[in-house]
Symmetry: C2
Subunit: 354 residues, 2 copies
């Protein structure tokens, strides 16, 4: 047995008991809410956790990039939704190859995107399922109105090689009521024209415990929920005791009474602030603040800690602001239970941004 104190730092620890609890809690809530769960794997990028969520009842997975989808397909995952507009010959060729191996559906928010998909799938024996991406308040991708969703759906329906499969949105955090109203209005338009909408999918961990208010949605796509992080605690969707992913770091310098330096900087914790002040939470030293990050150093203000806080050589555990980009920085993560290393695994889809 290896105690986590023997691990070289900085490194990522993933608490398996917390992962299991987070997966089960979300699945149970989705079941109670009458929603299918389609977890987003961008957070962990590990085939084993994708499969674990499916074992608990998820209908499949969500991926954000084709590269992630390819890794998951290679690992045996057979049902996925790619929530990204696939544009350009190189990617369309990869998508077509992937669709020969697994069930994969995609989204589109423009006629240009639909045209590319149709051209790539026109001669396919199996039509490609395409959902219309809807901008329900996030201000990112998506058609801008329920009417525009209907219009694009008709283009998909008319396009050779494609099958209209529903509506997809990623709502702005806290705007689940607006998203629900938007989707309901769209559904009414489709109903009025007698167009079936097989899937209406929404998501986001910040509002996961409001999924029961998602209205006409049939499916929910949380990602961060498997690990949780400081931003989710701030959003009220988790407690620190739910946080399964932590960064283990070592104090390497204590140049002044009030300042300690750790060996984890922005290349371990990322610079993501997500509206927060500081770069993480240290459960063992709640009065310590991670006030600054350079690439390989983290600067702690420990002036409020009793007895100067952690000492040189001491290992500390940090809950990062945002767990998703952290796991994307590390080739491996350590799976742990009760403070002991269970297994070190490669982050299979790390860096698959293409």
């Amino acid at each position: 047995m290896t105690d986590i104190s023997e691990l070289d730092t900085p490194c990522v620890l993933v608490d398996l008991d917390r992962v299991e609890a987070n997966l089960q809690r979300a699945q149970a809530f989705a079941d109670e809410s009458g929603l299918k769960l389609r977890p987003h794997i961008k957070t962990h990028k590990l085939p084993r956790f994708a499969q674990r969520a499916i074992n608990f009842g998820a209908v499949g997975i969500t991926v954000q990039k084709l590269g992630e989808a390819e890794v998951m397909a290679d690992a045996g995952i057979t049902d996925m939704l790619l929530t990204f507009n696939i544009i350009g010959a190189a990617k369309l060729k990869r998508l077509r190859a992937l669709s020969d191996r697994v069930t994969i559906r995609v989204v589109a928010d423009s006629a240009e995107c639909v045209a590319g998909l149709s051209e790539a799938f026109a001669d396919s024996a199996n039509p490609l399922g395409v959902l219309v991406e809807c901008d329900t308040g996030m201000g990112r991708c998506g058609v801008q109105s329920p009417e525009a969703a209907l219009e694009l759906a008709k283009i998909i329906i008319a396009a050779p090689g494609l099958e209209f499969f529903g509506l997809m949105t990623y709502p702005a955090a806290g705007k689940y009521h607006e998203a629900a109203a938007w989707l309901a209005a769209a559904k009414s338009l489709f109903d009025a024209e007698g167009i079936a909408v097989p899937i209406i999918t929404t998501g986001g961990t910040p509002d996961i415990w409001h999924a029961d208010e998602a209205g006409v949605a049939t499916e929910y796509r949380p990602g961060t929920y498997i690990y949780m992080d400081r931003s989710q605690v701030a959003a009220g969707s988790a407690s620190y005791d739910d946080c399964a992913l932590t960064v283990l770091a070592t104090v390497v310098s204590h140049p002044t009474t009030g300042r300690a330096i750790i060996d984890a900087g922005s290349k371990a914790l990322t610079s993501d602030l997500l509206g927060l002040v500081g770069h993480g939470y240290i459960p063992a030293y709640p009065d310590a603040k991670v006030v600054g990050l350079s690439e390989e150093h983290g600067t702690l203000d420990v002036s409020a800690c009793a007895e100067g806080g952690p000492k040189i050589g001491e290992q500390i555990v940090i809950i990062p602001n945002h767990c998703c980009p952290v796991t994307n920085l590390f080739d491996h993560v350590h799976l742990v239970r009760d403070g002991q290393l269970v297994e070190t695994v490669a982050v299979a889809a790390r860096g698959r941004v293409d």
Copy 2:
């Protein structure tokens, strides 16, 4: 020949002509200033560019983490300065093993750090060269006064297995005069006691063109200078035409007249702001602003662009705010010249934060 327009996105392009020009210009300026150059490889993490700088006249390289040092040693680099306090049994064992293969020197800013180094090297045939890290205004690691530098140097001199090798600082950007004064004061103290100071090393790309004002320093350690980036342009140390690293992205959505979405988000460009507004500069569309990043999407405000700016499917080149963490996100980078792919290379020390 592969034109860069055929590359799948997002990806990193490195312009070889600009790299060569940046390396040569800095070496020439160091030579004129009577300084040795010891480039920091944390920016590129590529052995070939470490070697290229040495070919141009650099005395060796700087590394920030032991993992980077191991990769560079494996690739044949034989002279390096590790500008990080090495703490703990696991890392000390690795450092000792590395010192049997290459010339590697380290820094220390505490008696605790020196004690660990001495214990690891007490029975070594070759003493470990240790420089005292000095906090000349950065507020990160380092002893807090010239007097403390002298005191720690004496501890190093007295420690079995160690050899005092000089002073090291990473000055705060723009505070090169303060750093020079600090180091000069320290040097006077050492001179008064007849203690030789073999190396006085300072660095930083933001003030690289003030290296000639570094006073008693003997060596300069720039990192970002090889690629340059938007933050360096803002600091006045580079022009956009010097920027060798860019991210190639594709417009995947144009949901409103003023908004375009690209396939590069924080997992390609990082969230590093470095005091800037926005997340990069787009030379082909100087009026476009990268106003937001989520993990895999970048949001552009193109309302000021003529004719709506870039179209869906169009590839655009982005100069990131901070090149160093960008290269650390990608397993490979594309080396290009005159818009053509020359070679795709693995980022050998990517993710070596330990």
